[in-house]
């Protein structure tokens, strides 16, 4: 039985990792063409540093991810706070609206924004891309901050005011520390989603503005540049190493972590991998 279980797990892992092994192997392939092995070489790692197209896309990806996450975190946290203090009916209505981009297929979100931009005359470009990312990030911030607010004592804000704090002071000194984990989680989720996104960016990015995903897509149609394999391999190995060190260091408290880990990934966060 045990053998059977291990064999089964092994097969599943083989399936999941086969393409990744292929990618990493080909990042060391001296030949340019896929499917031909021209010997071991680091040349794609060297030319990666000079590939303006890929680096430009990388830069865009990072800038959009960070900017959109910061803005979404600010707007989203404020929104969660406001919704928490609203009448039930109104806040439920707003929550339903918030769920729309989460549940809607990405392709629908993408084209609906495209139509909006064309309709109100926003030119497709960097800002249209940024606005789109903010749009799909805000709901995740709200959805990770809200539970924290629900778990908080409703009266501490007023208590702080009664004790002589100004509203801003009360907010930053009392509320923020309470909900900080939710904010941080929302921010990180937003960054991750933004880095991953393909479909929505594909419809909303303007000419000359491309993210890594868009670059990979256009390359897939005319032949992937091996430098992309090199970049992905670096990213993959770094994530793997981080994971291993963290895992070796922190042995305790495993169960709780595993659960929060899985729970912290909402369907969209997970399914975003597809984009």
């Amino acid at each position: 039985m045990k053998v059977l279980k291990s064999a089964y797990s092994g097969l599943i892992f083989l399936f999941l990792y086969a393409p990744i092994v292929v990618l990493i192997a080909f990042s060391f392939n001296a030949a340019k063409s896929r499917g031909v092995w021209g010997g071991f070489s680091f040349r794609w790692y060297e030319s990666l540093v000079q590939n303006a197209e890929i680096l430009h896309a990388l830069r865009n990806t990072v800038v959009v991810a960070l900017l959109s996450a910061v803005i979404a975190t600010v707007i989203g946290t404020a929104a969660a706070l406001g919704m928490h203090h609203m009448r039930r009916g109104l806040s439920n209505f707003m929550l339903n609206v918030t769920y729309l981009p989460v549940l809607n297929p990405d392709i629908v979100t993408g084209i609906s924004l495209l139509i909006l931009y064309v309709f109100i005359g926003i030119n497709l470009g960097f800002s249209s891309l940024l606005l789109a990312h903010i749009t799909f990030n805000i709901p995740y911030v709200i959805l990770s901050v809200s539970p924290r607010l629900r778990g908080m004592n409703r009266h501490i804000f007023e208590a702080a005011l009664d004790l002589g704090a100004g509203p801003a002071q009360a907010f930053f000194k009392v509320i923020v520390p309470e909900i900080l984990p939710g904010i941080v989680n929302g921010f990180l989720l937003a960054v991750t989603l933004s880095i991953d996104d393909f479909v929505i960016s594909f419809f909303t990015a303007g000419p000359g503005v491309s993210t890594l995903s868009i670059t990979v897509y256009s390359m897939a149609r005319k032949g992937i540049k091996p430098e992309i394999n090199a970049l992905s391999s670096i990213m993959f190995v770094v994530v793997l190493l981080l994971l291993l060190t963290v895992n070796i260091r922190a042995g305790r408290d495993v169960r709780r972590r595993a659960q929060t880990h899985v729970r912290s990934r909402s369907p969209r966060a997970l399914s975003s991998r597809e984009r």
């Binding site: 797990s9 599943i12 892992f13 399936f15 999941l16 990792y17 393409p19 990744i20 292929v22 990618l23 896929r34 499917g35 404020a78 929104a79 406001g82 203090h85 609203m86 707003m94 609206v97 918030t98 981009p101 989460v102 549940l103 809607n104 297929p105 990405d106 392709i107 629908v108 084209i111 609906s112 924004l113 495209l114 139509i115 909006l116 903010i134 749009t135 805000i138 409703r154 007023e158 991953d196 393909f198 995903s213 990979v216 897939a220 992937i224 394999n229 992905s232 990213m235 993959f236 793997l240 495993v254 972590r257 595993a258 899985v262 369907p267 997970l270 399914s271 991998r273 597809e274 984009r275």
Partner: protein, 277 residues
Amino acid sequence: MNRRLRLTAVPYALYALIFIVAPLLLILYYSLTTGQGTALSLDNFRRFFDPRDTVYLRVLWRSLWIAGVSTAICFVLGYPMAYILSQMKERTRNIISFLFILPMWMNFLLRTYAWMTLLERTGLINTVLKSLGLPPQEIMYTAGAVVLGNVYNFLPFMILPIYTSLTKLDRNLIEASEDLGAGRAVTFFRVIFPLSFPGIMSGLTMTFMPAVTTFIISKLLGGGQNALIGDLIEKQFKVAGDWGFGSAMSVILMVLILLSMNALSRYEKENAGGGLM
């Protein structure tokens, strides 16, 4: 209750109005327009549902069918894996569940592209088969390739929620079942399986949803031979320029998804409690 705090939601309310609500209304509006004139009509929907020319309905059917098959395979492959995982020692299963997530840190387009290298006629799998003297397989550009791409990309979304619901299971229930004389099989089918239903439900949604709406996987691995509804929508917006028809198809897709999500979450509330999220 503090009135002033309520106002902090105002910026978002405005933002949501412009970037969430208005775009969806605009899609609806565009779906009622055709290229000529400004009069509203149902022509785009008539075209889609035309009983004399069922080509679009067949594409929708193909999308549902391919997504359904992919989801079923994910379930059949994923449930045993989640079960095996949930029975491992805590430390091991923690590491292994991470190994399921790890591939997802690599760009999904790239991983799908790597499958091309494996599946082609001159690809790695066929090269290996040939060297073993086995007949080559035609996989690339078939519906099977699209299903494979879906299963590959979405399998972790099936495994993880099921795994979570299995680890959250109350061990006492299993022991009680065994104490009362139930065999392992009976315990599994009468106790464990029903209790993992919430996980199964979110697993099914999380694989089916993206599989129905994808257009990349079908484009890269299907080669235009197995176009899905997503491909048609993308084509209308990116190439053909028929935004009205593209919007109509999006509306149909959106209604389909939202309705089924709604049905599912209602089902979940009745049965196990806890929303999909």
